[in-house]
Point group: C2
Chain length 282, copies 2
């Protein structure tokens, strides 16, 4: 029996959840889009025509063919038992959490009545919330899915999700949950900490701010990101982040010693090569 996707329920109608709803609509999705969020967010989401109606967790879980969990990681984890009680057996639950091992592991234990397939769209904005939602947020961005086995992406419901990911302009990338978490420790969590640490070294009323140019502005953009966004990420990926930090610190210590020597040129060449590869991959 081919899967159908008539009703989508978005849990957490903020930047990511709201953008996913808008992107589905823009890509031609004709079904219903339900939202589960705070009353204020639901009101705004209805005003902005991001969702068709605001519903309870139970109503959403009972009706949806696709359940899209875009809340903070700890809320995603808390929802799983209740969702499992209400879901339709042919439904698919996916999420947009920034770490995957904990969520996928918990879902494997707690979601038994339908399929769960973890996800992580590599897209974002400095601004959060429903007002920042954007139908084009995922265009050209990678959208990671973290199946536990190859069979997880071969189900009709998963094939349909993959189809919509492609229709909204994103590029699906498959990764093992642990591999994902080890990689994003370097590509997302470490850059965040590197930026926050740079900004934390600028005390108030300091002459340094007078004597700063565009490079520092760029390098402290991520430091504007609030801790609320990061707490759950840090608590669910701690060993990998500490490992990445430790390698980063070791690299900086080596730089301090070789600063103006020719060995430093090799490091610059190697880094520039990696920075170019990142861009050719964009």
């Amino acid at each position: 029996m081919p899967a159908s996707m008539e009703t989508v329920a978005i849990f957490g109608v903020g930047l990511i959840g709201g953008s996913f709803a808008l992107a589905l609509r823009k890509a031609g999705f004709q079904g219903r889009i339900l939202g589960v969020s705070s009353p204020a967010t639901i009101e705004r989401a209805l005003e902005l025509k991001v969702i068709d109606s605001g519903v309870t967790e139970e109503e959403a879980a009972t009706a949806a063919d696709l359940i899209y969990l875009a809340e903070p990681i700890h809320r995603i984890l808390e929802r799983l038992p209740a969702l499992n009680r209400c879901v339709k057996p042919e439904a698919l639950i996916t999420d947009a959490g920034s770490t995957k091992s904990t969520i996928v592991e918990r879902a494997s234990r707690e979601i038994s009545r339908c399929q769960f397939l973890g996800g992580h769209p590599l897209a974002g904005k400095e601004r959060r919330g429903i007002d920042a939602a954007d139908a084009d947020l995922f265009v050209g961005r990678k959208y990671v899915l973290t199946p536990r086995s190859g069979a997880d992406t071969a189900t009709p419901a998963a094939a349909l999700l993959l189809e919509w990911i492609s229709k909204i302009g994103a590029i699906a990338v498959l990764a093992d949950p642990d591999e994902h978490d080890r990689a994003v420790a370097y590509t997302s969590h470490l850059p965040q900490l590197a930026s926050t640490a740079l900004a934390a070294l600028l005390p108030e009323n300091d002459r340094k701010i007078d004597l700063s140019g565009p490079a520092l502005v760029d390098m402290t953009r991520l430091a504007l990101s609030p801790f609320e966004t990061w707490h759950d990420i840090f608590s669910t990926n701690k060993p990998a982040i500490q490992q990445a930090l430790s390698n980063y610190i070791r690299t900086l210590q080596a730089f301090s010693v070789m600063l103006d020597s020719q060995r430093m040129k090799e490091q610059f060449d190697r880094a520039a090569g990696a920075a170019k590869r990142l861009r050719s991959d964009e």
Copy 2:
């Protein structure tokens, strides 16, 4: 006697020197602009109408009212004795070197026949060279001058330079040379090393590049910068950079311990505050 600025000589007609020439013209400078650079650069600078003629070091020094040194720091240092032999007594020598203590100290010993006033425009681009030169490069950017005393900016020639800095759209900032170097260790040299170290942690053919989003692209932009630009900066500001690196490493070590604790929220708040101040200052 009021200073006049009929002839400007640019040493090193690359991104900064070429942009300064173009910016002067755009701001209404009617005098002659001479260039001292490699034959290939002079040819291109003439083609692009950045300079009026290419001349020798001696011709430039003999004729110029303003001598603008925009070569790498070691070349600036090498030029000083020969310039001192040829300059007009009422001329002003300034430079655009990214570190100031070494240059200002050497100039105080070697430039006796005219005034020297160190400078550092806080502007740049990823691309270097005459083809990247841009009349608007300095617009809205800070332009640091590093007098050794208040009298240094009160001379007629210095007043005229300050006037042109303002006419090209830049914002003059005065700083002591050592204070400048200690500050830019944090605001420019450390961000460069932080970016290079992040990129150096991405080995070839690594899955990390597949699993990276826009944050890493931003944070590795500086890593594209070649070591040639940085060698002289590192060698003339080593203790201050090592001090900044050591504070940065200490901060990252503390982050690793407090990662998901409430103390980390204070660090994020503090960093976000500094990042906002940087932007309000823009």
